[in-house]
Amino acid sequence: MAPTTEVQARFGPSIPGTDPSAPLLAVEELRVEFRTRAGIAKAINGVSFEVNSGETLAILGESGCGKSVTAQAIMGILDTPPGFITGGQIKYRGVDVLKRSKEERRQIRANKIAMVFQDALSSLNPVFTVGFQLAELFRKHRGMTRSDGKKRAIELLDLVNIPAARQRVNDFPHQFSGGMRQRVMIAMSLALDPELLIADEPTTALDVTVQAQIMNLLADLQRERNMGLILITHDMGVVADVADRINVMYAGRIVEKAPVFDIYAKPSHPYTKALLESIPRVDLKGQQLNVIKGLPPNLTQIPVGCSFSPRCRYAQDVCKADPPPPLYPVQPGISSACHFWKEVRGDE
Amino acid sequence: MSEPLSTMSVDNPAAPAAPVGPGEPSKDQSASLWSDARRELLRNPIFVISSVYILIMMSFAFVPKLWTRVDPQDCQLNYGSGEPMFTPGHWLGTSQRGCDYWSHTVYGANPSLQIALYATVGIVAIGLPLGVLAGFYGGWVDALISRLIDIVFALPFLLGALVILGMLRKYSIWTITLVLVVLGWTTVARIMRGSVIAAKNLDYVQAAKALGAKNSRLMFRHILPNAIAPVFVIATIALGGFVAAEATLTFLGVGLQEPAVSWGLMISRHDDFIETWPHLTLIPVTVLVGTVLSFILIGDALRDALDPKLR
């Protein structure tokens, strides 16, 4: 497709039916299940959230809680089978992408929403140079020639502060260090100026010192470009400086939503509280670390009531008997899926 | 069938599902791997049918009297001039030489399966310890054994067997077995070396090592139970490969010679009459291919059952 206008040349074709005033991304009541030999695993059970341009939303939770599945569902790269989206909507600028054709979803992936994966070593193709993998985007989506694509690839590597970009563009992924590889991954995601970036555990595979550099890089780029950013992580320390809002997920549900400051100051859900207590703290040296007892539920057999109740110190009979609690509004901007959020917060 | 042992890729099913603590030997875990595998196998119809078929062929080979009372050497040449006879008592008729064909089919299993069994025991007996040594000790031991494996592996299996037997000119079950073992052990050694290296690097083995477990204990309690599974797979497939190899060598004239009774000889003796009496070729072909196929299918089923990653 030949670019017709200047805007298209930079951002790719626009998606028909989009409303620029609608939220950048709105996920509503999303449900995903995995149909496996062992049974049907309900990975996501009614998740809703919104992200706007220039905003960072952190999705926080233990491994297996459905964070990455959410991201893959938004991108449209869920492996089907075994994964199936069984309900809900994913709206990009007001358009439910689940109702759009495969081709349009591919255009959205290419131009509007990009993703950074956890393990850059396995997520980059081992047999192509990073230059090829970057230039490929310009060649296939912007109709550039090989040499122009390569020029842009070098610019991108410069952008993510990879030294000697001109030489390194011809290197293969395994020739980079872990941090540099993740920078390549970020460069790739930014290549076509996406409006929304989903970063799935972007720093988990990295050393602690490198983690901070990568997070700062992501935050800087997001601010400069006024992108929406969804940051998926299990690490409460990582999100504190970067995120605006946090959604805490547990067993395929969002259990708490709050601005980042409030979460740390006064968690409203027992799970969030337990997560915070399990962070090792320098000022409490010598004390036993609080761990969350038990394991997350088996997603093929989620209990009837609140799925956190078996591990919850606030749990009462109602938690196990009643259907899972809805998100109760706690304060403007804060909600909690706990019948006893008042006790958890220590209000009254 | 030049490399009957390597016709199939064998994934490494050695990696266990989850590492156990250093204090807890891997015994329980591998026991459950095997009992899970048994349950899985018994539910697999392909495995069950193939196993029953192999059991029947084994009984052909080792208790032929169960199936026929006719001695395969008891041939009546006066039956005719090279024409198979269908007379009472010979339900598959006779061979060209007036020998009972059913009895030949039953007794013909013996050399193939004997050679396959001995050769498989042989390649495991040589390949397994060498592979374990190479994988476990590494360094110059590994370098030496790996080089040896490379050298033997560079002799094409069937071609090598053909030449050695052609020079030796003594064709018996034992010489054929010996040649097959000498040229065939490398596959087992390679697989074993790889899976021992994989098992050695598992966290709990490292942990046991850090706790000061002796080499012998490391090897027999921690590494071997986890690394041995692929050898079962490869050995089963090798059984089929050797049955085919024996028949091929016999067909080429460097295997068993008449008056021995074997499927390979039955095929090579009668393939020229396939137009007039196709059954004389097709009967031995069917039992032979069925045997090879069954061993391969059992090997496949074993691999699927022993690989926890696939479950």
């Binding site: 081992p126 293969f172 | 071609l159 067909f251 137009e275």
Partner: protein
């Protein structure tokens, strides 16, 4: 890359010498335990001592070490290595008296043609079937490919050769020739029961297909497995997330990786053809290297047997080396370690 090539070449020399020594040792032992092979040239007759000694000497088998069981005959090996690598001399055949290299030169073109046909059959059909099955995992065509390949693996090559020759070459061929009055090239060439000099390529197609079937099935299975494994890989997910078309995600990102192990087996299968060629050439009477080897066994020409095998083993080793280098070209992780 340079260092890898140098290292691989340095490893190659001892492997070649080791393999040739192993072949030498095994054949020497066969002579030591099986008795002087020259004797068998006379069949049941007992040859005069003097004539036997002379002929044994002519065959290069006069070395006394060949009568001591277990003696590795290092001296003889050294002589033969010099003959082979310095004088390009692989010994002589006796009846008729010719250099083995000449015998080889006569036979080789047929075997090369046969190998080319077999390789094309294997590569094209094997890859196509494997890719089809991999992309349609769990669907009907996948099951068909899996069942057919496992059946093909279970049929020893001499069985498939005999069955194809008799049923296609003879029965179907006779029908074409007699009932349909088919043209020569079709009835006698393509569907002939044996090699015919008038149809140097056509009459090799049937044996070539049989030979290719030997490894076709394992190539298809390997391709399928490798493709399935790579389709699950993280970088394929990345390629999808980049908004690339399905054709590009599979055709470029997945296949490029999946084919690395397949190329290796394709290369090695050419080595497998050398043994398989003995069977197919024997059955279809193609006067190639394999057929000559069979003839040498039947008539008891030890030097032809050893000489031709040595050549085939050398070719196999060179192919192995070539495949290893190709591997490094295809997989950058090996190239730069």
């Amino acid at each position: 890359m340079g260092r890898y090539v140098v290292r691989r070449l340095l490893q190659f020399i001892p492997t070649v010498l080791g393999t040739l020594f192993l072949l030498h040792y095994l054949t020497s032992m066969a002579i030591q335990f099986g008795g002087n092979p020259v004797r068998s040239l006379f069949g049941d007759r007992t040859p005069p001592e003097e004539q036997l000694r002379q002929m044994t000497e002519q065959f290069g088998l006069g070395d006394p070490c060949l009568q001591q069981k277990g003696n590795p005959c290092f001296g003889l090996f050294w002589e033969r290595m010099q003959d082979i690598f310095l004088r390009f001399d692989f010994g002589q055949s006796l009846a008729p008296r010719r250099d083995v290299t000449d015998v080889l030169a006569d036979a080789l073109p047929y075997t090369i043609k046969l190998t080319i046909i077999a390789f094309i059959v294997e590569a094209v059909l094997g890859l196509a079937a494997g890719v089809l099955a991999g992309l349609r995992n769990g669907k009907f065509s996948d099951y068909v490919v899996r069942i057919v390949t496992v059946l093909m693996i279970s049929v020893p090559i001499f069985v498939s050769a005999v069955l194809v020759q008799k049923f296609v070459g003879v029965k179907f061929g006779n029908w074409l020739r007699q009932d349909l009055d088919a043209p020569e090239w079709l009835g006698r060439g393509l569907f002939g029961a044996a090699y015919k000099a008038e149809f140097p390529w056509l009459s090799l197609i049937l044996p070539g297909i049989v030979l290719g079937m030997l490894t076709l099935a394992s190539t298809a299975r390997l391709t399928r497995g490798s493709l399935l494994e790579n389709l699950r890989a993280d970088y394929v997910r990345t390629a999808k997330a980049k908004g690339l078309t399905t054709n590009r995600v599979i055709g470029v990102h997945t296949l490029r990786n999946s084919l690395i192990p397949v190329v290796t087996t394709l290369g090695l299968s050419i080595g497998g053809y050398m043994a398989g060629a003995v069977v197919t050439e024997g059955v279809f009477r193609v006067p190639g290297v394999g057929f000559t080897i069979l003839k040498a066994i039947a008539t008891g020409e030890p030097m032809v047997l050893i000489g031709l095998t040595t050549v085939l083993v050398l070719v196999y080793l060179v192919l192995n080396l070539f495949v290893d280098l190709l591997y490094a070209v295809l997989d950058p992780r090996i190239r730069y370690e």
